[in-house]
């Protein structure tokens, strides 16, 4: 092969693997630098971050604002209180979950689906005894799962009975819906479904499936795993395009009311659907990731700019904003 041909080949590989910056900006893809400079640091006041980084504070805030969250069973904040765990657990009859208040990305969350004589049944079918649970709580308090290893608090909350409509779409784990809310408008949504590859976790970079959702009616637009488009669920084989999130209006309304309660202009809300109680807020994120664009096959920038141009947003109610978003950010015209 001649030298020139080698050069050409190399250039072609580069063009195949890398997008031209102008191609990305044409679609309006939001990059990490612009997200940090133009959105997070401009719309999210620093002093509000602790509200969303601490799940306990978020919960209290949500309860005040009347936003539905999973019921709090108990909080353990001191090492010596760990032995009270079995006493606290008597308060709930069925399942519960233990999570660190400062955990991120689903780390350190232990889900117990049922309590019985054999012990505590974990979501993967194994049984744990009270000693295992106490060790887990102790680890949480020591900061094993929190950002930077800071000392943490363990939260015990009611189990989410997730809606049957998602059975088959998710392998173990709870499917949750991420809605990006920008200045009170829902701009983009996706559902995160755990897979065997992601070990039952809903983290996209660990192999969970991301499904882009239409803001208009909550139906699936596109599904990706490891940033590559897929059609069928890798474990259950269900066609992902048949996914349709029920109670869509409620989901969006819940997401939008998180803007009111947190004051963060650029916000990621994680919402789960409970079989009995409907949409509930799981957690908030002040630095939502960018993969949602790949799941939707769209860039965020055009929608963000459209919202930034609105001048009469102050006068719009929650319902108006949801309606505005459902009208403008949908594929069905």
């Amino acid at each position: 092969m001649s030298e020139a041909a080698v050069k050409m080949n190399w250039f072609q590989t580069l063009r195949e693997r890398y997008a031209h910056p102008s191609a990305l900006s044409k679609i309006g893809v939001l990059g990490m630098n612009r997200r940090n400079v133009s959105y997070i640091s401009r719309y999210n006041p620093r002093h509000l971050f602790p509200l969303v980084d601490d799940k306990l504070q978020t919960k209290e805030l949500a309860l005040e604002a009347g936003v539905k969250v999973p019921d709090l069973i108990g909080v353990i904040s001191e090492q010596h209180a760990v032995k009270d765990l079995s006493y606290i657990l008597q308060r709930c009859s069925s399942g519960f979950c233990i999570k660190p208040a400062h955990g991120s990305g689903g780390k350190g969350i232990m889900v117990i689906t049922r309590q019985s004589e054999e012990g505590y049944r974990k979501s993967n079918g194994q049984f744990a005894n009270i000693g295992d649970l106490e060790r887990h709580v102790s680890n949480i308090l020591a900061g094993l799962f929190s950002l930077g290893g800071r000392a943490d608090v363990a939260i015990i909350e009611d189990l989410i009975h997730f809606d049957d409509c998602f059975s088959g779409f998710s392998y173990e784990g709870v499917p949750d819906t991420r809605v990006i809310v920008f200045r009170g408008f829902p701009v983009m949504a996706m559902m995160r479904l755990s897979t065997a590859a992601s070990n039952g976790k809903a983290n996209l970079h660990q192999g969970a499936v991301g499904v882009g959702l239409d803001i208009g009616d909550g139906h699936a637009l596109r599904a990706v795993q490891f940033d590559k488009p897929i059609l069928l669920h890798p474990d259950t084989g269900l066609n992902m395009m048949t996914l349709n999130v029920p109670h869509w209006e409620e989901v969006l309304t819940l997401a939008v009311s998180c803007y009111e309660m947190s004051g963060l202009g650029y916000l990621g809300t994680d919402i789960v659907l409970d079989r009995f109680k409907g949409p509930m807020l799981l957690e908030l994120n002040a630095r939502p990731g960018l993969t949602i664009q790949i799941a939707n096959g769209k860039g965020l920038l055009p929608r963000l700019r459209q919202i930034e141009k609105l001048s009469h947003k102050k006068r719009m109610s929650v319902a108006d904003r949801v309606a505005y978003a459902r009208e403008h950010f949908t594929d069905h015209q």
Binding site: R17, Y18, A19, H20, P21, A23, L24, S25, I27, V29, G31, M32, N33, R34, V37, S38, R42, G105, K107, R135, S138, N139, A142, G143, L144, F145, G149, R150, A151, Q206, R222, V224, D227, K228, P229, Q293, I294, G297, K298, G299
Partner: protein, 503 residues
């Protein structure tokens, strides 16, 4: 959004100030853009010989100081058994040797290094004091007056008068011979110029030529015209100082005075040397307080420390660019810079092997520690102790196997290593080995890049010699901080989005 104009003004001010400072250093202090440039210096040795006869001896030699074209660096003497002191007098700077009892042939040595330096800042050049007019005996007075009158007629200024006077001495041979009976020609010329109201004096200069030995000083006439002066060759009347002419004694005094001995004479030998500019500058600035803000005024040890400190911004800039423009993930924001600093001490290969060895073994031991369920502070402390233990063991092992390179492992910052191990270990538990490889590899890659940049002689030279570079680095960092474009790795990450558009 607030206007960005103040920001851009700040950045351009920083950039301009940095550039201006840098150019100023280059132009005003002759600091070259590239390292390894040489500067010429002359080592000149004066040898004084005399015969002593057992009496107390005092020998006084005029010595040169910084003058236009030459900067005096260091000076040495060799004179066993003699007391030595340097004297500042109106008639110049002298080295004075003294001894109570000297016998036979004596040799004293004085050596001075002169830097060829177009930017030399001369010590204050003293003007010629007006000497009392000598009353000469006849017929010398008339002869001298005649020569002066003729020269005055044909001249228009101080310089031309000097030239014409020298020409008269050359043309009127008989008169010149007559005058030479009382004193040398150069003394006459200087004296006549003085009488005519022109400040002038006899000076002694040395013609510099590489490798010459047993040279003697040549007499010149120095003539002032206001603040300016010029030198004249008393034989030919040529005006101007040749580039290789070093003025040795130019304060109207004698070159050598020896009291208590006979047959005193002084001879000179010289060699030309090429010195790296920084050594030359170090010597030049060693005792110059007037010099504006320069690191060369610090003691050598502090200079060495600053050489390292001033490199850090370069490493930091590399990290900033790698993270903002490329999007490489590193564990710990500036950990790569610290690792790169360690690499500079250890050399790259040794550093890399040592780093991987310590972190690898550290991760294994740390995975055991995580079973113990320790509190964070205690766990990190345990890791630090463990790292120190490992460094000790590796050093001893390396030494036993005769690998002295292995000893350099101690240059790694231990606390940083401990934190790296801790972070990697948590990352491993939380995100799996793949993420550890990505972040660890990213950190090492950035560290190596930072090392390569910081280890460049040229970069070290620029950061150390030009403070303005720091301002420029600052400006670049600020600009990078407001970059909102895509990162290189994002072009790859979001590639699927562009394909979607076409289908």
């Amino acid at each position: 959004m607030a206007s960005r104009t103040p920001f851009y003004i700040l950045v351009s001010l920083l950039f301009l100030a940095g550039t201006a400072l840098t150019l100023h250093r280059h132009i005003a202090f002759d600091i070259p853009w590239f390292p390894g440039e040489q500067r010429q210096t002359w080592s000149i040795e004066a040898k004084i010989d005399f015969e002593a006869s057992g009496d107390p001896v005092t020998a006084r030699l005029a010595i040169p100081s910084t003058q236009p074209g030459y900067t005096q660096l260091n000076q040495q003497t060799a004179s066993p058994g003699y007391g030595l002191s340097f004297l500042e007098r109106e008639t110049g700077t002298y080295a004075e040797w003294s001894k109570r009892e000297a016998n036979g042939n004596q040799s004293l040595y004085y050596k001075v290094d002169m830097l060829v330096d177009p930017f030399a800042i001369p010590d204050e050049q003293n003007m010629v004091q007006n000497v009392k007019p000598n009353v000469e005996k006849e017929p010398y007075a008339t002869a001298a007056k005649m020569i002066l009158e003729r020269a005055t007629e044909r001249s228009s200024s101080n310089y031309t008068l000097a030239r014409e006077l020298i020409h008269e001495f050359n043309n009127q041979e008989q008169t010149a011979e007559l005058l030479a009976q009382v004193k040398p020609k150069t003394v006459w010329i200087a004296q006549l110029l003085q009488e005519a109201g022109v400040p002038a004096r006899r000076i002694h200069a040395l013609e510099l030529e590489d490798g010459r030995r047993r040279q003697s000083l040549i007499e010149y006439i120095q003539v002032f015209d206001g603040e300016e002066f010029d030198v004249f060759n008393p034989e030919t009347g040529d005006q101007g100082q040749a580039d290789n002419l070093l003025l040795w004694q130019y304060h109207s005094g004698p070159v050598l005075e020896v009291i208590g001995a006979t047959n005193a004479q002084v001879s000179f030998s010289m060699i030309s040397q090429e010195q790296p500019f920084n050594i030359a500058l170090n010597q030049k600035f060693a005792d110059n307080e007037w010099l504006n803000f320069s690191l060369y005024t610090l003691p050598l040890e502090e200079q060495a420390i600053f050489k390292g400190i001033l490199l850090i911004p370069v490493g930091v800039l590399i990290v900033v660019l790698m993270r903002i423009l490329v999007g490489i993930k590193t564990s710990g924001t500036f950990m790569p810079v610290l690792i790169a600093m360690a690499f500079i001490q250890t050399s790259l290969m040794t550093g890399l092997i040592g780093f991987l060895l310590i972190v690898g073994v550290g991760l294994m031991i740390r995975s055991y520690l995580s079973y113990l369920n320790l509190l964070l502070v205690a766990r990190i402390s345990a890791v630090i102790i463990m790292v120190i233990g490992m460094i000790a063991i590796f050093s001893i092992m390396a030494y036993k196997f005769g690998l002295t390179e292995g000893m350099k492992i101690t240059f790694f910052p231990m606390i940083i290593l401990a934190w790296t191990i801790e972070r990697m270990s948590i990352l491993w538990e939380e995100e799996g080995a793949k993420e550890v490889m990505i972040q660890g590899g990213g950190s090492l890659l950035v560290a190596i890049l930072a090392y390569l940049a910081m280890n460049l002689d040229w970069v070290r030279h620029l950061t150390f010699n030009f403070m303005g570079i720091q301002l420029i680095l600052m400006a670049i960092t600020l600009v990078a901080g407001s970059y909102t474009g895509y990162r290189l790795l994002e072009l790859k990450r979001f590639k699927p989005l562009t394909k979607l558009d076409k289908s």
